[in-house]
């Protein structure tokens, strides 16, 4: 097998300027997890079915396992590691912890990123709107009930804080 040629990929992740060597076929998820050490984003299916790899690119949720790393150059990438502010968990993260929104926790980073994007565009979503926003993130543990409760709790707390 020919060794595929690598190029330098410059990514802006969670506010940091990062560089890594990638091939043309390296996905954003692979670059984040295996090149940059940001293992918070998870691989559940590697083909865009489960949503565990969801990150934000320019504020919009994307599936990083079917996004090429080089296509994310020059854009703002946010991962679950970027949600905490000065080491303090984001209200969404705290709410997931308090309500039992994370059981095994493997889908949680992706769910959090979808929920974070939702609350940024809609600070007071209905349960139906939450269910729609999270419908690309499969959770196998919770039956989604506690996830809905967590997003509602976080939305309320963020609104009250403002």
């Amino acid at each position: 097998m020919e060794t595929p040629e690598k190029t330098v990929c410059r990514l802006r992740v969670n506010g940091d300027e990062r560089e890594c060597a990638v091939t043309a076929g390296t996905t954003l998820l692979e670059a984040l997890r295996y090149e940059l050490g940001l293992t918070g984003s998870k691989q559940g299916c590697d083909k865009g079915d489960c949503g565990a790899c969801t990150v934000l690119v320019d504020g919009r949720p994307v599936l990083s396992c079917i996004t090429l790393a080089l296509n994310a150059e020059g854009r703002e990438v946010t991962t679950v590691e970027g949600l905490a502010e000065r080491g303090r968990p984001h209200p969404l993260q705290d709410a997931f912890d308090r309500t039992g929104g994370a059981q095994c926790g493997f889908c949680t980073p992706g769910v959090l990123m979808s929920a974070y994007a939702l609350l940024n565009r809609n600070p007071d979503p209905t349960r139906d709107e939450i269910a729609h926003a999270l419908s690309g993130n499969l959770c196998r543990c919770t039956g989604y009930t506690k996830i809905f409760e967590a997003v509602e709790l976080a939305a309320r707390e963020i609104r009250e804080r403002r």
Binding site: M1, K47, D49, P89, C104, G105, F106, Y144, T145, I147
Partner: protein, 819 residues
């Protein structure tokens, strides 16, 4: 099947078991083990607490197996059979080995031993050596610099197969014993057969007012945890092997690794990192762990194997497809008379837990209702498909669907409300079932009342317009088994607690947290007993070097067994602290209170008080270094017959569901609106965790009822039999947030006399009634009986088109109006 089993059933050879009176017995506490240690109120137990690892998970810091990277680590991939049944004539890996960056190739000859989770049915090799038994059976492994290169190298391996006819289902397996799938079968394709009869079944059925006979089909389903199986193996310079694996049974993996690799157990260490879901699907060793370890030993490099999602589907070990024929009788007063069940299980190519599954398909049906006479005849068959094993509610979800459907039919036959029928047959507390299971605490009646009330049952049942309906179902489940997978008299669960002068407690346990929260349960127990804040307890778990043996996360055993072990260790330490402070303050030991980080005497809490940290230091000064061990060993339980210990548990949980559905009579689309779940978990140590288990269980049952099918394609022109119908999370349809019904959990606390603070299981029991409750609701809505899973639109449409639905629906209403 081995001689041991033939001669002595599940018992060990004579002479190795201790007499009953010498068996380990847990310590007795003056006030039992169900109440708060300080008297009055609990401080931590029963509160809506966080989990110990919760913040690590939500901030992306929790480390799962695939998050590990070791220096010089290489990657391996497995070559899998493309035939469902084929003799392996030869494997030529020379071209693969010649590729630059390829480090090693192994085949079945390199790992010749047989393993299996049940010691009597060891019938698997890490890499199939002489014969492949299903599409996807692993036959070789390659280690290379990168995953991509390892995959490329797989394609360079030449395998010569001699293709054999495939056995595709239970009927073929029975009809063609000469096409033997698994040579370890005792005869033909029979993996296990169990025939047990309790009471005079034929006479009971003959003396019934109504007898209902029907056949049910439970399609297989798989666990589909979001984390694929992954492991990393490393051999150090002294020849010591460490394996990190996404397993839920580190101890059993430890034993099998040592056995297959020919290493002494004391030179093998298994570490379970954070596990991303399991549901029974990671409860036995898989090819990846043996292969990664062997390749690490051959290359001297750390080796990682990560299954693709497709491989996870083929690794399987999920719910057995079951064909269940039931005859059940009832008297006009609503009392059940007898049940006769004939069950065929499609086991796939290997035994897995199948011996136990075959027993569970009958043994776990004998509560919450009193069955005066019961017979089951269960046969597990080998077929050329991925092996089935334990999925949440192991072996008993399928018969529960059949039986609770039977109850619905019987209730209609005698014109009685189905909740009332269930109530009249309630088995009660502190009783023995017909098959000899000891039932102690039992909150089933309260569960029934709760779902009846909360769902508005009386206003809905047989009263909603055509297309809408409600259905009820009940169940029971084990809280751990009294029988260890391999016979021994050592504890089933254990902890060590270290207290030190820093004011912190560390709990070490081999228990396996797979998301259900057992690590947190241990922390709650320690907080309650020693008066610590949750943040001051650390839990070190599932590392065979650091932690005492626990048998792992299966059969809903962890909270009960390791929770009890932890309670005993914490109480021993509490006793030392209380004795120290009582002496210091001149008060009776019973006055010492440890709560919220403070130690005090209840008679004078202002003057006689100090921080728990100071109390630890005082106790350390008096007693020396503070540590304690605790262990759990269940009492000897079960019926006095071969297999009588299987299904015997120190406590049983009970559940009732009501499901409400809205169906489209034109298309057959079923929309489950709400499931009310009432579950008797003994005592909820953390209601958030218990509710989470109840909701997750009800969700998973709903998913099996309506959406999930783990099925295989027949042979086509271009491909052989045995390809999975859709081995991806898109094609295998697991419910999204939009599909899942509203789940309403109601926690019922019966306070079990032997559970830690009265706790029982909550992880598996609440799944059982989902499927029959939905089936019974569909009958109430449409007048059609769903006897085959899944109840998807085409299936319901066919039942509607078969005719008579509307007439049955009208008749049921008229009859209910008369009753």
């Amino acid at each position: 099947m081995s001689d041991v089993l033939k001669k002595g059933g599940m018992a060990v050879p004579k002479g190795r078991m201790m007499p009953r009176e010498d068996r380990l017995k847990p310590p007795q506490w003056e006030d039992g083990r169900t109440g708060p240690p300080n008297g009055g109120e609990f401080t931590t137990i029963g509160k809506r607490n966080r989990k110990v690892e919760g913040l690590a998970k939500v901030t992306g810091r929790a480390v799962y197996a695939d998050d590990l990277a070791l220096p010089r680590m290489i990657h391996a991939k497995l070559l899998r059979s493309i035939h469902a049944h084929a003799r392996i004539v030869s494997i030529d890996a020379s071209a693969a080995l010649a590729m630059p960056g390829v480090h090693a190739v192994i085949t079945g000859k390199d790992l010749p031993g047989f393993f299996g989770i049940i010691p009597w049915t060891e019938d698997e090799q890490p890499l199939a050596e002489k014969k492949a038994r299903y599409v996807g059976d692993a036959i070789a492994a390659v280690a290379a610099d990168t995953e991509l290169l390892a995959e490329e190298a797989l394609r360079a391996i030449r395998v010569e197969y001699e293709v054999l006819p495939a056995v595709t289902d239970v009927d073929e397996a029975l009809a063609h014993p000469e096409l033997q799938v698994n040579e370890k079968a005792s005869e033909g394709n029979i993996s296990k057969q169990v025939r047990l009869e309790f009471g005079p079944v034929d006479a009971a059925l003959a003396n019934s007012d109504e007898v209902v006979e029907a056949e049910y089909w439970y399609e297989g389903s798989t666990h589909a945890p979001i984390e694929p199986h992954c492991c990393v193996a490393e051999l150090d310079a002294t020849g010591f092997l460490t394996v990190w694996s996404s397993t839920q049974v580190a101890h059993y993996l430890h034993r099998d690794l040592a056995k297959i690799l020919g290493l002494p157990t004391q030179r093998v260490r298994v570490i379970q990192p954070v596990v991303g879901g399991a549901f029974g699907g990671k409860s036995e060793p898989f090819s990846l762990e043996f292969c990664a370890a062997k390749l690490a030993m051959l290359t001297g490099r750390p080796v990682k194997i990560l299954y693709t999602r497709e491989e996870v589907f083929y690794a399987h070990r999920g719910r057995h497809p079951m064909r269940m024929r039931y005859r059940t009788g009832i008297r006009r007063d609503g009392k059940l008379t007898g049940t006769d069940a004939v069950v065929h299980l499609d086991g796939g190519a290997y035994s897995s837990f199948g011996l136990v599954t075959t027993y569970y398909s009958g043994q776990l049906l004998t509560a919450p209702y009193a069955l005066p006479a019961y017979r089951f005849d269960s046969t597990r068959l080998f077929t050329n498909k991925p092996a089935c094993g334990p999925k949440r509610g192991h072996g008993s979800v399928q018969p529960r669907f059949a039986f609770e459907s039977q109850l619905d039919r019987l209730a209609e036959a005698i014109g009685m409300d189905p909740i009332e029928v269930r109530r009249r047959n309630f088995i009660g507390e502190n009783v023995k079932t017909v098959n000899g299971l000891r039932v102690t605490s039992n909150g089933f009646l309260q569960c029934l009342e709760a779902v009846e009330r909360e769902s508005g049952w009386k206003k809905k049942f047989r009263r909603l317009p055509y297309g809408r309906g409600v259905g009820v179902a009940g169940s029971m489940y084990i809280t751990g088994t009294n029988y260890c997978i391999y016979p021994n008299e050592m504890p089933q669960a254990a902890v060590q607690i270290k207290l030190d002068r820093s004011g912190r407690a560390t709990v070490f346990s081999g228990c396996s947290d797979i998301g259900q929260g057992v690590d947190s349960v241990l922390a709650y127990v320690v907080c309650e007993e020693l008066g610590l804040e949750l943040r001051d307890v650390r839990v070190v778990a599932a590392d065979t070097d650091l932690t005492p043996v626990d048998l792992g996360s299966y059969s809903s055993r962890e909270t009960f067994m390791v929770g009890n072990a932890c309670l005993d260790a914490a109480r021993e330490l509490r006793g030392k602290i209380a004795a120290t402070l009582a002496g210091l303050w001149g008060v009776p030991k019973g006055e010492i209170v440890l709560a919220g980080g403070v130690a005090c005497a209840s008679s004078d809490p202002r003057e006689k008080a100090m921080s728990v940290k100071d109390a630890f230091q005082a106790a350390e000064a008096k007693h020396g270094t503070l540590g304690a061990t605790g262990w759990y060993q269940s009492p000897k339980l079960g019926g006095d017959y071969r297999g009588g210990t299987i299904g015997a548990s120190p406590a049983y949980s009970f559940t009732a569901h009501v499901a409400e559905v809205e169906c489209d009579p034109e298309t057959g689309v079923v929309d489950v609106k709400t499931i009310w779940v009432a579950h008797d978990c003994g005592r909820a140590l953390n209601p958030v965790g218990v509710e989470g288990q109840m909701e997750g269980s009800a969700y998973m049952g709903f998913a099996e009822a309506l959406m999930e099918t783990h099925t295989f394609k027949p042979a086509g022109a271009a491909f052989p039999f045995g390809l999975h119908h859709g081995p991806s999370l898109l094609d295998y349809r697991i419910p999204t947030s939009l599909d899942t019904p509203e789940l309403r959990s109601i926690v019922i606390e019966s306070v079990d006399p032997e559970g830690p603070y009265g706790a029982k299981e909550a992880g598996e029991g609440p799944l059982h009634p989902s499927i029959p409750a939905i089936a019974n609701a569909i009958y109430d809505a449409l007048g059609v009986r769903c006897e085959r899973l899944p109840f998807d639109a085409p299936a319901v449409y066919r039942l509607l088109k078969a005719g008579g639905a509307r007439e049955r629906w009208e008749k049921a209403r008229t009859q209910a109006g008369r009753a």
